[in-house]
Symmetry: C2
């Protein structure tokens, strides 16, 4: 089993804690470790043969630094020259793995998701592998608990297979609210978690059919050398990426492939897409407050706040449903239900040319 | 004319910006200068013979440092060994001044008040001096605009004197709300601003009657030397203070003295007793926000906030009626209408023994 961790994201939704060179997956927010570190540690008990962390050149140094403490583990970091969405990253990883063993099991995991029940998560991965061993492209599906319009939905066929998985019969990316409500009520729709399990050879075979240019480009790279990531590969990848367009694995392959399956994952998943979402996955105090890096907090009559104190003493008086993020050079105060608007702050800073805050 | 500035306050209501050694009057909050510096500068156009700043040993160094830029002005700083409220401080200053000239005009000003119309303020002081020259103890009264229960009220006799002043017929310290409403409606009650004008000899004469122990003690000090504050005075003051009790000039003298007058002051006064009060005397932007030391602020849909950014970039999203104070080691987030409760935070820090934050 090989694990591919997609760690190239560069979101703006966690400003001012996340920055261009320190995006969400590299942020330390849940008491010390970053989401990337947690993603790697979460998978280690399954004793993967190798873990391939795919990041980009801007974040490569910090990514490697964060994984230094795991240097006795089989981890490789590969830095894409620029982002081309998930299909090229996954294709490249599959090609690297398939060169050693086309039948190798390949698990794809985003580096910036939260999973509450890690034991259950690993159990689901093992069950997905059993299905993938038959050639299926397995997706981990999350049972919706709200009519979220920002996610991709996958429809599961009515007949569960003996192994507890379902065939995928339809994809619906970011549906309008009416559709999302319909999916929620139907009961056989899942959120696409972006987590996949398949044999390296299986995904490459589907890529050959549905993304032939990318597949051809990947096959023409010179992979000689013993290492999983051969020296001299990156300049070739840079040349390849210059000629291909961005494409997600969902749109490029999954929506067109046969033999796509879904396995429901009930392990307390969140993509923690906003400060508000972070406040929902950290256990709050009895008044619903979450305090991070806040020394000796003094809370008077305050509820539902998420405060990152940047190491300072924090005092709250009558504060309700606020997100307060205090970093070395910036201070954000945001009504909790409006944390999606943080990206507007980042856009404004870009407009003003304040690169030092990005 | 001698001016005595009472600068020994050690309030906790402006934590975390104010601290034991950096209390309110030494805080820089209105764009650069501290309230002490503004108090001194406000009186300079009247060309006082000397300005005597009375502080205490804890704050003496910072007080002197803040006044260094005015070193060519006739300013003396005297540090009380410990605070004994206003009566001993004012008595000591009066004794020092009377030694040079018992008929000298003496103006007493707190160091931590805000005055919007400085020109009018100086005009009122000059008019008060005219009355004080006849021997009256003059108080500057502020016409109430709300039934404040935290202030002292003084009742003015019905008959205005020719010079626009009134005799004081009654004192009412911190009345209950019903009384405060009555005073507000009556129209002849003023807030006691803590600002006084009298001849040094006049207040000493009344002190002799109503606080004979303090007066005797003050008279026994050895004032020899040319300077307004003689070298060698402080150890004597320390000895005197050990034997006397704390007393306000209002309770100790004013409430008992004859010939007390009040002159209404309409110059936009505030004792800025809380963060909220500070937000009311600084001109806000059109959405009612006041930002201090906040670089490049980004404000989205936010109203009525007072933010001290400590030099950081500040972003607000949907923030309403909040006080946010960010200093080097502490962060306060407080609902605006609850800024009186800041002192509870300080009390809690004291209980926890966190002296470094006090």
């Amino acid at each position: 089993m090989y694990v591919v961790i997609l760690a190239g994201g560069a979101g703006t939704r966690f400003w001012p804690l996340s920055r261009r060179r320190q995006p969400k997956q590299l942020m330390s927010v849940f008491g010390g470790k970053s989401m990337l570190q947690r993603t790697v540690e979460r998978i280690l008990p399954l004793q993967p043969r190798r873990i391939l962390v795919v990041t980009n050149v801007l974040q490569a140094v910090e990514t490697a630094r964060q994984l230094e403490y795991l240097q006795d583990r089989p981890i490789d970091v590969i830095a894409e020259p620029e982002g081309r969405n998930t299909a090229p990253a996954i294709g490249l990883a599959a090609a690297l793995i398939a060169r050693h063993d086309p039948a190798a099991m390949m698990v794809v995991l985003p580096a910036d998701h939260y999973i509450r029940d890690e034991e259950e998560f690993r159990t689901v991965l093992l069950r997905a592998q059993a299905a993938a061993r038959q050639g299926a492209l397995m997706m981990l599906g999350i049972r919706p608990d709200r009519p979220e319009t920002g996610y991709g939905y996958i429809e599961a066929g009515k007949n569960m297979r003996a192994d507890g998985t379902y065939p995928v019969t339809r994809f619906a990316e970011k549906p309008p609210l009416a559709k999302a409500l319909e999916f929620l009520a139907a009961g056989n729709f899942f959120w696409n978690s972006g987590m996949f399990v398949w044999q390296a050879g299986s995904i490459l075979a589907e890529m050959e059919k549905h993304m032939p240019e990318l597949h051809t480009g990947l096959m023409q790279l010179d992979y000689s050398g013993e290492a999983l990531v051969p020296a001299g590969l990156l300049p070739q990848v840079a040349a390849l990426y210059r000629g291909i367009k961005s494409q997600s694995i969902d749109y490029g392959v999954m929506e067109k492939a046969k033999n796509v399956g879904v396995i429901p994952g009930e392990f307390g998943w969140s993509d923690v897409g906003s400060w508000r979402a972070i406040s929902e996955v950290i256990a709050p105090d009895e008044a619903g407050n979450v305090l991070i890096e806040a020394g000796n907090p003094v809370l008077i009559d305050s509820r539902g706040c998420l405060v990152h104190g940047g190491g300072k003493l924090v005092a709250l008086i009558g504060a309700e449903d606020l997100i307060v993020i205090n970093t070395g050079d910036a201070l954000l105060v945001c009504a909790k239900e409006r944390s999606q608007e943080v990206k507007q702050v980042v856009e404004e800073l870009e407009r003003r040319g304040l690169a030092e805050y990005l």
